[in-house]
Each structure stands twice: as C-alpha cells, then as structure tokens.
Amino acid sequence: MSKVKEKLVSLIFFTLLLTWSFLLAPIGWLLYLLHKLTGARIIRSWARFAGWVYGRSSLTLLRPFIRVISVNPGEAVGKTPCVITANHQSILDLYLLGFQDMKQVCPITKSWPFRLLVPLTPVMRTAGYVEAEGRDLDQITRECRERIEERAALVFYPEGHRSRTGELGMFHVGAFRLALDENLPIVPMVIKNSGARIRPGTFLIHPGVVEIEMLPAIMPSEYERFRKAPIPHRALLKHVRAMYEEKLSAYNAAHAR
C-alpha cells in the first residue's frame, strides 16, 4: 500500500473510531453521574458491560480495515472472578477484549488509556478499571480485591507495555501473585498480529486480520504443583509464558510461509 493510501486509510479509521467514541460517550457520562449520585455497585457492572460493547462494536464497525478472528471466546465465561492475561502489541488490544465473551472485564492498565481515550475516561473510572502506573501497590491491590468481590475478570498485560519488536516481552509477576493469593483461575488470552495492524508509536493502520485465542483456563486446583516451587508465582508465570511462546511461535511459523 502506498504511503498516501496508508495515511488516507488511517485518517478514515480514526475518524470513524473517534466519531463512534463520541456518540457512545454520553452513555458513559450518564453512568458516571448515576454512580456518583447513588454509589450503587450495579452501575459498575453496567459500565463494564458498556466498555465491552464499545470494544466489540468499534472493531465491528472497522471490520473493512481490521477483521478479528476469535478462537474459543467463551473460555472465561462462568469462571469469574478470574484473571485474564493478555500479551500486548498495540492500542487495539483493549478493544479486542470485546471479542471474548466474558463481559465483566476490568483491565489493570497504565495511565495512557485514561489520558488518551478522554471521552471514555468516565466510563472507565465507573467500571473500576485499575490505573496501575505510578501508584501505591497496596492501593492497586485493594482496588483489584474490590473488583474480585464484584466477580469481574481482571485483565493484566504481564509485559507491562506494548512490545516494540513484536516479540513476547518479559512478564511481570503481579497477575500471577494475585491469582495464587486469591485462588483465581487464569485464562490466557493470546493476541496474534495486532502489532502488525497498528504499531506502537504510530497511528498508521495496516489493514488485515487480528486473531485472539482464549487458552484453556488454569484452575486453582492445579496450583498445588506451583506452590511447591521455591517462588510459586514465578513458576506459574513461567508456565503461562511458555503457553504464549508456543502459540505465538506456531502462529508466526504458519504465517511466515
């Protein structure tokens, strides 16, 4: 695709996305106000549902540019509260949560989604999305426990930031410590190719396919063998990371041909 065409496609893509975001934003503001006024917990779950619908509808609207294939999307359904882990390649990855079927998702994220997705900030705050960057660990853990009580699926990006190379990065331990401490199932969500569609640091769209695959959940009944390791959460981390490596290697090998 020529540079001019690439820029034109990107302009159309982001114009549509922004327009859609602003059209849906008043729902988020209404939920934010309702929650402020009443403090009712149910409004948090409505906001999480709204976030899920927003992710799914946005990428459905943008299907001419980015087509999402979803494998085993229902894996986290019925397993909440749980931890969903996802590898991270692109700004699209938050939206891709809408292509798995568990609707009560609560990402633990850096600050940029709160800063960059301004029209959506009220709904993210109402939904209880946890801002983890530059904050006290005890406070973050407390918020995660509140979401667990609300039976949400906590979504962690264990690499901590988008991969600049497309390679799987180092995993941090937070998700795995929490899963072991709280006895929560882990559902690994493998995102394939989103970095090739929008690379970190650019807003240029490269149309094509993105695939997500929900791997079989690791249930707390399986944790006993990890608890025997010298550092149990690191043993669990290594186990999950190996699952990602296997899936991503297989995908890359199949698509390199």
């Binding site: 660990l137 901590g160 180092m170 941090h172 331990v173 937070g174 410590r177 550092i231 959460h233 690191r234």
Partner: protein, 86 residues
C-alpha cells in the same frame, strides 16, 4: 568466589529468571529502566540471588538503594567478603 563468578551468577539469574537479553547485562544497566524489573520483580530477584549464592542478602534496606547492575555486583561482593571474614 571471584568477582567474575558473582557477575556470571547474577547475569545468569537475570537471563534465566527474568528473560533479560544477555547483551543488556552490563554494569551500567539500570535495573528498573534498562532491564525492566518492577518492584515486585526486585523482591523475587533477591530471593533468586539468595538461592544462587546460598547466603542471605540480610541488609535488604541497602538493596533498595541499588540502581545499577554494577552496584548489585559490588553489593554481593561486599557481602561475600563479610561472609568469608565472619
């Protein structure tokens, strides 16, 4: 235990446990900014190093002031000396 052994053991721990690429393991590398460890990882790093060296990194408050890999090598070197003398 020589200084070279300390360097090799620490580097091996970072590469094996934390998936840090070996070329990043230079003395001036900043443990958080360059090697990407967060505060929880650093807690694990202490445990991993205690197992690797088979002695307690007792003065954990001093570890909090360590920022680079070179400082970590020196810290363990000093502990080793104290251990031998003790």
């Amino acid at each position: 235990m020589t200084y070279e052994t300390i360097v090799a053991t620490v580097n091996n721990a970072f590469a094996e446990e934390f998936e840090v690429e070996p070329e990043k393991l230079v003395p001036e590398a900043h443990i958080k900014d360059d090697l990407g460890l967060d505060s929880l990882d650093i807690v694990d790093m202490i445990i991993v190093l205690e197992q690797a060296f088979n002695f307690k990194l007792t003065d954990r408050s001093s570890i909090a002031n360590i920022t680079t890999l070179g400082e970590l090598y020196d810290f363990i070197g000093a502990l080793r000396d104290a251990h031998v003398e003790g």
